[in-house]
């Protein structure tokens, strides 16, 4: 999911930084001081999810947990993912520093979208309806992030459109896995710590 250095044009990089800057500013403004520690915990969960490798046939990919992070944090998903991606770029060389804005927008925006679309419904509903919304949140967050990455790559160079189709198809199994994991995590949180999902 992380876009590496060198793939994007200066215009796309600038647009990514502007979007990430606006999202982070709004997220920080809405973030209360006493909730900062929860955002830090979820930010590190996102960081570590990238280290959980899922085997898909002969290849492997890693989890992202965009949807659970988005569902819990709301607008704070922007500063949370900016921080996590900065640490990934510094400690693991995942993604990069110049592409940090684009990667933040690419992953935080789907997190925010699933929060706006599904968080209230998941809190309100119980049983199969909540499970369906949770699965849809996890699945659509990955698909939206992959589509966003595809858009950024195609806007940088239209020649990459063919490769982007392969990239999108490769994310389908991951989206299904993340949908299932989000479903179980949401059910787990609703049973054991409903207050985490209730804000």
């Amino acid at each position: 999911m992380h876009i590496s250095e060198g793939f994007l044009s200066p215009q796309v990089l600038a647009a990514g930084w502007v979007a990430a800057g606006v999202g982070t500013a709004v997220g920080l403004k809405k973030l209360k001081t006493d909730k900062i520690v929860r955002v830090a915990v979820f930010s590190s969960v996102f960081f570590l999810a990238s280290l959980v490798n899922v085997r898909i046939g002969p290849a492997s990919t890693h989890l992202s947990l965009i949807a659970p992070v988005g569902l819990v944090l709301g607008w704070s998903v922007f500063p949370a993912l900016l921080t996590a991606l900065l640490l990934q770029a510094v400690l693991l060389q995942f993604g990069g520093l110049l592409v940090l804005g684009v990667n933040t927008t690419d992953m935080a925006l789907p997190g925010l979208i699933v929060y706006l679309l599904f968080a209230a419904r998941i809190r309100r509903e119980n049983g199969p309806a909540a499970a369906v919304f949770a699965f849809a949140a996890g699945f659509s967050a990955v698909i939206l992030a992959a589509a966003g990455a595809g858009c950024f790559l195609t806007l940088s160079d239209p020649g990459m459109a063919g490769a982007v189709k392969v990239f999108l198809a490769a994310h389908l199994p991951l989206a299904l896995a993340e949908g299932a994991i989000t479903l179980v995590m949401v059910e787990f949180l609703k049973k054991t710590a409903p207050d985490i999902l209730s804000e």
């Binding site: 959980v52 510094v90 110049l98």
Partner: protein, 247 residues
Amino acid sequence: MRFDAGHICDAEKPSRLDAFDPRCRVLCGLAFSAALVCARLPGLLAGCAVPLLLLFAGRPAELAEVLAHVNAAAVFVWILLPLTVPGTRAAGVFSVEGLSLALLTTCKLNLISVTLIRMVAALGVERIDSVLGSFRIPEKMRVLLLLTARYVFLLAERVATMTRAVRLRAPDLRGRRMCAAFACMLGTTLVHSSDRAERSMLAMRCRAGGDTVLRGFSQCRPMRWRARDTALCLFFAANIAAVCFCR
């Protein structure tokens, strides 16, 4: 499913670049990388001296290992782009435009990665936090960075233990059950860690009182801009000019 946290490394290894002010390193690294982003192959050739110098400013063998990992993305580029980019076909299969785009992307990927790893990433989280402080980044953001860096290591330890436990209890777990087991494991870790972190924060607030808990949480190291920092900026400015002139 496998949890692979062995390569997280927070230790800052000393290098010759440590003699320079961190602010100067960040500014030069980002400006030069931005120039490389805008360049085509002639510009990249003109600018490749700086990454080559930086390659030998620390331990080249360690950086080569990191670059091998970074170049995993380049492998997909070399497989996909020559087959998918429309244009003149060489040997009836590979597109010349695709090969040229793959070459350009790989060169940029490596040159920018070397520059940013040596100039910025090698500073480590604490010094990057100080640089962000000197650039007037909001304190909330910097506190979030420091807390996240702390929790990454705490959670990594806990997740590694839990993953080992899941593996030992059910070594042949597959499919839906594997997803459920790992999701429950992640959920438990998350709930426990969140509770513990919030209790720590409450304790800090009890000691500090009210909303003053953030004040002074993230303290900048003193930094001094010297003549050699100005010289480094001039050296990078000359190289940026060369890249822009040749692009």
